[in-house]
Symmetry: C2
Subunit: 105 residues, 2 copies
């Protein structure tokens, strides 16, 4: 779907148990209706030059910017963010209205 | 859709006409069947600290890793990549099998 996207790419600290972070995210997206879809992945190409050390991508989709704003201000997100921020070594966030050029059929 | 994702986030050089790059990408994904979906966006939050200067995200979806490999080796991709690489100031690539936690309804 198009909608408004919240893209997070990270490198976790070495001692972080990624499974635990994922459990927290799963709970978060199940609790907040504004999150219409959520998918993630771990880079498997390992082209370190081009991955720049980032290993995981998390992508959430909202119906629109308002949905994203509701998510950001939601108490569950505020609480989760505090935990998440202690787990990361590096992060890039990009938030954008998605432009669909070729749609999945 | 789930599938295999090719995520590219970039900061373009200052003199780059992003519209031209996009036209090239549109042509590319229309020429290569292995690309099942393609969407992109320009960050509008402008939280420079967390965007780290990156401004655009491009996300392609393939049916599987084999589809992605076919895309990477496709002559049109090889040709486009040469042009694209001259336009970017910074780039991060992440390639991963997507795990769908919450699906768009």
């Amino acid at each position: 779907m198009a909608g408004f996207k919240h893209l997070v790419i990270v490198k976790f600290k070495e001692d972080v148990v990624v499974e635990d972070i994922l459990k927290g995210m799963q709970k978060l997206v199940s609790e907040i209706d504004a999150v219409k879809s959520f998918e993630w992945g771990q880079d498997i190409e390992g082209e370190e030059m081009l991955g720049q050390g980032f290993t995981h991508a998390f992508l959430m989709t909202f119906e629109d910017k308002q949905g994203y704003t509701a998510f950001v201000g939601h108490a569950c997100h505020v609480e989760f963010s505090a935990t998440f921020s202690t787990a990361i070594d590096k992060i890039v966030l990009l938030d954008f209205p998605s432009v669909v050029v070729k749609a999945a059929t």
